[in-house]
C-alpha cells in the first residue's frame, strides 16, 4: 500500500519544521539535515523539499528571507514562526502516539536533530 500525497506532505512538513527548530537554514541545509536524519530511507526526490517549504511559508508556519551564506553566496533562509513551533509540538505529539506505525518507516528518533 502506497503513501498518499497528503501523508507524504504531512510527513515532509514535520521533518522541515523539525529541521528548522534550532535556527534559520537555507533549503540545501534543510535538505542535508533531512537526508542525514532519515539516512536516505525517505524515497522522495530532493526537489520535493521546496514545494513543502513554500507551502509552509504560505500557511505562515515558516518565514523566508534572502540572506548571505558563510561563503557569501545569496540564499533564501527559512525561519520557523511561533505558529510553526506550535504546530510542530502538536504534530510531534500526534506522531509519537502513532510511533509504532511510523517510526520504522521514517526512522524518526529524538537523537537525529544534532
Amino acid at each position: 500500500m502506497g503513501v498518499d500525497s497528503d501523508t507524504l506532505y504531512g510527513t515532509m512538513n514535520l521533518l522541515v519544521l523539525q529541521a528548522l527548530r534550532d535556527g534559520p537554514l537555507h533549503g540545501l541545509a534543510v535538505s542535508r539535515r533531512i537526508a542525514g536524519g532519515t539516512k536516505g530511507a525517505l524515497q522522495v526526490e530532493e526537489g520535493a523539499l521546496y514545494p513543502a517549504l513554500h507551502r509552509l511559508e504560505r500557511d505562515g508556519l515558516v518565514e523566508g528571507e534572502w540572506g548571505r551564506t558563510e561563503e557569501n553566496r545569496r540564499a533564501k533562509f527559512y525561519r520557523i514562526t511561533a505558529k510553526g513551533r506550535h504546530q510542530l509540538e502538536r504534530e510531534s505529539a500526534r506522531w509519537a502516539r502513532h510511533a509504532g506505525a511510523v517510526a520504522g518507516l521514517l526512522n524518526l528518533s529524538p537523537g537525529w536533530k544534532a
Partner: protein, 886 residues
C-alpha cells in the same frame, strides 16, 4: 522548439525567474560543489544531482503556485493584481517556450492578417452602405431587350417621363446621362471632365445636402436654359484649389461659359466613379425623344415598397409602352435593381469566394495552432498535475491558460493587423479596375472590429482547449508515472481528425484554384479576333461648339471629318507609327447595337440587333482584324459616294447563311441602305468570354460620330508606350484644346478583360499554397509527435524483430490514413461547393474530375513527403537505448 541561448542573451535568467529559480539554482549548484569536492567530475556530478532532484520545472511551478496563493491570501482572490500576476506568469511560461510561442503567433498572425485584408475589400465593395439616407430604398430602373438578351440597357427620356407619371411605388424618379467634356484652363492643358447631366430632383431622390451653394432648379433644366453646373468635391479641390468663393464663378467647358451654382458633398461620387460635375439635363416631357436610349433612371421607393414589387410594376409599365409605341419600344422590358447592387454582381461572387477561401486558411492555421497546443498540453501534464496537487483550483488553472491565450492573441492580432495593412495594399494593386472603382479598401473601424472578433474567438478557443485537456487529467497517474506522459495517444485521434480536416480544406482550395487557373488559361488562349500586340489606344472627345453635329446636315459634318483627317495624317507621320485609325469603340468595348432592315426582305422582329462599329478605314489594319471576303472600307468611301459597310463572320452566318452577303443592302438609322462590300473576322467585343455578336462596320467619313468618347488607335513598329508623348503632341498640333485621356496598350486592355479571373485565381492560388504549407506542417507535426511519444513502443517492436522497413511502414501508414481521409473528404467537399464557382469559370466544368485529380494527387504527394522525416526518425530509434530509457 526552445531557443534558450537567444532568450538567455535577451532575458537573463534572473529576470525570467527572480525568486524561485535562484533558490533552486543555489541548491543544485551547492550539491554539485559538494560532490566535486569529493572528487566527482563536474558533468557527472551535475547529472547525478539533477537526477536526484527530480523535475526542476515541476518544482518551480509548485513553489510559484504556493507563493501565488500566499499573495492571493494577502490581497483578495480575482483582483486585478491576481490577473496581472497570471499574465506575468503566463508571459514567463511563453517566454520559456519561445519557439512554440513564435510559431503560434506567426501562424495566427498570418491567418488574422490575410482574413482581415480580404475582409477589408469585402467591406469596401459589398458591405459599406451607400452614402445616402435609407440607401436600401434606392433602385435603378434599367431596360432590357428580349431580342438581344441584354438586361441593363438605357431608357429614352420619353420613357422616363412615362415612368414618373405611371409609377405608384416610386416616391420619386430621376434620370441622368453621362459623357465627357473639356474644361479649358488658363496656362494649363485642357482637362477632360466626366460630366453627368441629371434632373434637378436627383438631390431629392438621393437625399443629400450641398456642401456649398445650391442645386440647379427645374427652371434651369429646360431646353435652352442657362449654362449652370454643380461641381464634385474632387474637381473643386483638384482643379479649383477648394476656392470657398467658387459659387457664382464661371468655367469654360467645351467653349461654353458655365456658371458654378454649388459643390456636391465630399463622399458623393455619383452616378459613376470619378464624376466631375453635374449639369442640368435640359429635358422636359415636351422635348423628349422616344427612339434614342441614352439615359438611366434611378428612383426612391416609397416606404414598404419592395424591389420585387417595383420590378412587377415597371414591367407592366414597359409592357404598356411596348403596345403604345410598337416601333420604338419593341422587345423592351424593365429590370429594377437595387442601387447598392449595381456593378457589384460579378464582384460579389468573386469576393465571397475569396473570403470563404481566406476563412479556410484561417481555419487551417487555427488547427495547426490547436495541434501545437494539444501537443504542448500533453507535455505539460505534469505541470498541471503539480498545480492541482498543490491546491490550485480549476479557476486558477483556467485563468492561467486564458492568460496565455490572451497574450498569444494580443501578439497575433497586432501582428495580423500590421500584415493586413500590407495585404490590403497588395490586394488593391492586384485588383481589377472594376473593383477599385468603388474606392480603395482600408483597415477602418469595421475591419478592425472584424479582426478583433476573430481574435477574441481564437483567444477563447485557446484558453478553453488546454483547460478541457487539463480537466481530463488523471492526477494520480500523472504524478506517479512522472515524465512518461502517455496523454498524447489518447488525444491523438482528435489531432489526426483535425489534420484530416485541414487537408480536406486544402483540397477544396486547391480544386478551386486549379479550376480558376484553367479558366484563366482558357480565356488567355481565346482568339480575340484582333491583334493586341503593338497596338495603343487613346481617347479624346470633341466639343460640339467647334465640332457641331447638326442632325439636319447629317452625315455631312465637315468640322468633324476635317479633324479626323488631320488627326490621322498627323499621327501617321509620327516616327514609329505603322498605321493609325479612329474608332468609336475600341476592341473589347461593348459599344452599341442597332436594329436593322435587310433590303428585299420583310422585317423580322425576332432577328435582334447588330453591334454597330463606327471606324475609319485604317481600323482593319490597325486593329489587326482580318478581311475574309470582298474589299475593306476605303478613303474613297465618303459623303456622296455609295454608302457601304462591312459585316463580321457571325452576321453573315446568321443573316446570310447562303454566303451571298456581298452586294446586299442593309439599313439602320432610318431609310438609308448601305451596301455590304466586305466580310471581316469576328472580333470579341463583349469581353473575352462571350462569342462575337453579329456586327456591322461603317466608316466615319460616311457616318460621323455624334460626340462622346472617341478612340484613336495606333499600331506601332516600336514599343507602343513610347509613342504616348508623340501621339499627344500630334493631337495637340491638330487642336490644342483637346485633351487625350485613358491611354492604354491593347495588350493591357486584353489583360484588363480577364483581370477579375486573374485576381481571383492569383489570390486563391496564394491561399491554396499557404493552405498546403500549413496542412503539411500539420501532418508532419502529428506524426513527429507520434514518433516521439511512441519511441518506446518502436524500440520494443524492433527488439522483437521488426525491421526498419516495418517501422517506416507503420509511420507512413499513419500518415497515409490521415491523408487519404482528408483528401477524400476534401474531394467530396469540393464537389459540393465548386458549383458556386460556376459564374467565374470559362471553358471548365466545376465538376471536371481532371482538376480534382490534379489537386488531390498534388496534395497526396506533398503530404506523403511530409511523413518521410518522422518515418526516418522512427527508423533511427535505437531499440536498446529506448528500452533502457524506461
Amino acid at each position: 522548439m526552445e531557443w534558450p541561448d537567444v532568450w538567455r542573451t535577451l532575458f537573463p535568467k534572473r529576470m525570467i525567474d527572480p525568486d524561485v529559480h535562484a533558490e533552486i539554482d543555489f541548491h543544485i549548484e551547492g550539491r554539485i560543489q559538494e560532490l566535486v569536492r569529493r572528487g566527482w567530475t563536474e558533468p557527472r556530478a551535475r547529472a547525478f544531482v539533477l537526477e536526484r532532484f527530480g523535475d526542476v520545472n515541476s518544482v518551480e511551478v509548485a513553489c510559484r503556485a504556493y507563493d501565488a496563493q500566499r499573495v492571493d491570501g494577502a490581497t483578495r482572490r480575482l483582483t486585478i493584481g491576481a490577473w496581472l500576476r497570471d499574465v506575468r506568469l503566463a508571459a514567463r511560461s511563453l517566454m520559456r517556450s519561445s519557439g512554440f510561442t513564435a510559431v503560434v503567433v506567426l501562424t495566427l498572425a498570418l491567418g488574422v492578417g490575410a482574413s482581415t485584408a480580404v475582409f477589408s475589400v469585402v467591406e469596401r465593395v459589398l458591405l459599406r452602405p451607400l452614402p445616402f439616407p435609407d440607401a436600401g430604398e434606392l433602385a435603378v430602373v434599367w431596360q432590357n431587350d428580349r431580342a438581344t438578351g441584354t438586361v441593363r440597357e438605357n431608357a429614352s427620356t420619353a420613357d422616363y417621363w412615362d415612368y414618373v407619371e405611371r409609377s405608384e411605388l416610386f416616391e420619386s424618379l430621376a434620370m441622368y446621362g453621362t459623357g465627357p467634356n473639356i474644361l479649358a484652363r488658363d496656362g494649363a492643358a485642357p482637362l477632360r471632365l466626366n460630366t453627368a447631366v441629371v434632373t434637378p430632383n436627383m438631390q431629392q431622390v438621393l437625399g443629400f445636402d450641398m456642401q456649398l451653394g445650391r442645386m440647379f432648379t427645374s427652371g434651369e433644366s429646360q431646353p435652352g436654359g442657362a449654362y449652370v453646373a454643380v461641381l464634385s468635391d474632387r474637381l473643386w479641390r483638384d482643379a479649383l484649389g477648394a476656392d470657398p468663393d467658387v459659387v457664382g464663378q464661371t468655367l469654360i467647358i467645351d467653349d461654353v461659359t458655365v456658371t458654378v451654382l454649388g459643390v456636391l458633398p465630399a463622399q458623393l461620387d455619383f452616378p459613376e466613379p470619378q464624376t466631375d460635375l453635374w449639369a442640368p439635363i435640359r429635358e422636359t416631357p415636351a422635348s423628349a425623344v422616344r427612339s434614342n436610349h441614352w439615359v438611366r433612371v434611378v428612383g426612391r421607393l416609397r416606404d414598404g415598397a419592395t424591389v420585387e414589387a417595383a420590378q412587377a410594376e415597371m414591367a407592366q409599365v414597359m409592357a404598356d409602352l411596348e403596345v403604345e409605341f410598337a416601333s420604338e419600344n419593341r422587345n423592351r422590358g424593365a429590370f429594377v435593381e437595387r442601387l447598392g447592387d449595381v456593378g457589384r454582381g460579378d464582384l460579389r461572387l468573386t469576393l465571397w469566394v475569396l473570403f470563404a477561401a481566406v476563412l479556410s486558411v484561417l481555419a487551417i492555421a487555427c488547427v495547426n495552432v490547436a495541434n501545437l497546443l494539444l501537443a504542448r498540453g500533453a507535455s505539460r501534464h505534469r505541470e498541471v498535475a503539480v498545480l492541482v496537487a498543490v491546491g490550485a483550483g480549476a479557476r486558477q488553472i483556467t485563468r492561467r491558460f486564458f492568460a496565455e491565450g490572451a497574450i498569444i492573441t494580443v501578439l497575433a492580432a497586432s501582428a495580423g493587423i500590421g500584415l493586413a495593412t500590407i495585404g490590403v495594399r497588395a490586394l488593391t494593386a492586384l485588383a481589377p479596375a472594376s473593383l477599385v472603382a468603388f474606392g480603395e479598401p482600408e483597415v477602418n473601424a469595421p475591419v478592425l472590429a472584424f479582426a478583433l472578433a476573430v481574435s477574441v474567438f481564437i483567444c477563447l478557443g485557446f484558453g478553453l482547449l488546454p483547460t478541457l485537456q487539463a480537466a481530463r487529467l488523471d492526477l494520480q497517474r500523472e504524478l506517479k508515472e512522472g515524465r512518461t506522459t502517455d496523454g498524447g495517444s489518447a488525444r491523438l485521434p482528435v489531432r489526426r481528425l483535425l489534420v484530416a480536416g485541414q487537408l480536406s480544406l486544402a483540397v477544396v482550395l486547391l480544386v478551386g484554384s486549379t479550376l480558376l487557373i484553367g479558366t484563366l488559361r482558357n480565356l488567355e488562349s481565346v482568339d480575340p479576333g484582333f491583334r493586341p500586340e503593338g497596338a495603343l489606344r487613346a481617347n479624346f472627345a470633341l466639343p460640339f461648339t467647334r465640332y457641331p453635329a447638326n442632325d439636319a446636315t447629317y452625315p455631312d459634318w465637315p468640322e468633324i471629318h476635317g479633324f479626323l483627317r488631320s488627326l490621322e495624317a498627323e499621327v501617321r507621320a509620327v516616327p514609329g507609327v505603322r498605321s493609325a485609325a479612329v474608332t468609336l469603340n475600341h476592341p473589347l468595348d461593348v459599344g452599341f447595337t442597332n436594329s436593322f432592315r435587310i433590303e428585299g426582305r420583310a422585317y423580322d422582329p425576332t432577328q435582334g440587333e447588330m453591334a454597330t462599329r463606327l471606324i475609319t478605314p485604317g481600323y482593319i489594319e490597325t486593329s489587326g482584324l482580318r478581311l475574309l471576303e470582298g474589299r475593306p472600307l476605303e478613303e474613297a468611301d465618303r459623303v456622296g459616294t455609295t454608302q457601304v459597310m462591312l459585316l463580321n463572320r457571325e452576321a453573315v452566318a446568321r443573316f446570310f447563311p447562303e454566303g451571298n452577303a456581298i452586294g446586299q443592302r442593309i439599313a439602320f438609322w432610318g431609310p438609308v441602305y448601305r451596301e455590304v462590300v466586305g466580310v471581316v473576322e469576328n472580333e470579341r467585343i463583349l469581353g473575352l468570354r462571350a462569342d462575337a455578336p453579329p456586327a456591322m462596320y461603317v466608316t466615319m467619313y460616311q457616318s460621323p460620330p455624334r460626340g462622346g468618347e472617341i478612340t484613336l488607335m495606333v499600331r506601332a513598329d516600336v514599343a507602343p508606350l513610347s509613342l504616348v508623348g508623340p501621339v499627344r503632341e500630334a493631337v495637340r498640333r491638330v487642336d490644342p484644346g483637346i485633351p487625350v485621356f485613358d491611354v492604354a496598350t491593347m495588350e493591357d486592355t486584353v489583360a484588363e478583360a480577364v483581370s477579375r479571373e486573374r485576381f481571383a485565381s492569383l489570390v486563391l492560388t496564394v491561399f491554396g499554397g499557404v493552405a498546403i504549407l500549413l496542412a503539411i506542417l500539420g501532418v508532419h507535426g502529428v506524426l513527429a509527435y507520434l514518433v516521439a511519444q511512441r519511441g518506446h513502443e518502436v524500440g520494443v517492436r524492433m527488439a522483437l524483430g521488426a525491421t526498419r522497413g516495418d517501422v517506416v511502414r507503420l509511420v507512413v501508414a499513419q500518415g497515409a490514413s490521415m491523408t487519404a481521409l482528408g483528401i477524400l473528404a476534401g474531394l467530396a467537399g469540393a464537389v459540393a461547393v465548386s458549383g458556386l464557382l460556376e459564374g467565374l469559370l470559362y471553358g471548365v466544368s466545376p465538376t471536371d474530375m481532371r482538376f480534382y485529380l490534379a489537386a488531390a494527387s498534388g496534395l497526396a504527394v506533398v503530404a506523403l513527403a511530409a511523413t518521410a522525416i518522422p518515418a526516418w526518425r522512427a527508423a533511427c530509434v535505437d531499440p536498446v537505448a529506448s528500452l533502457r530509457a524506461e
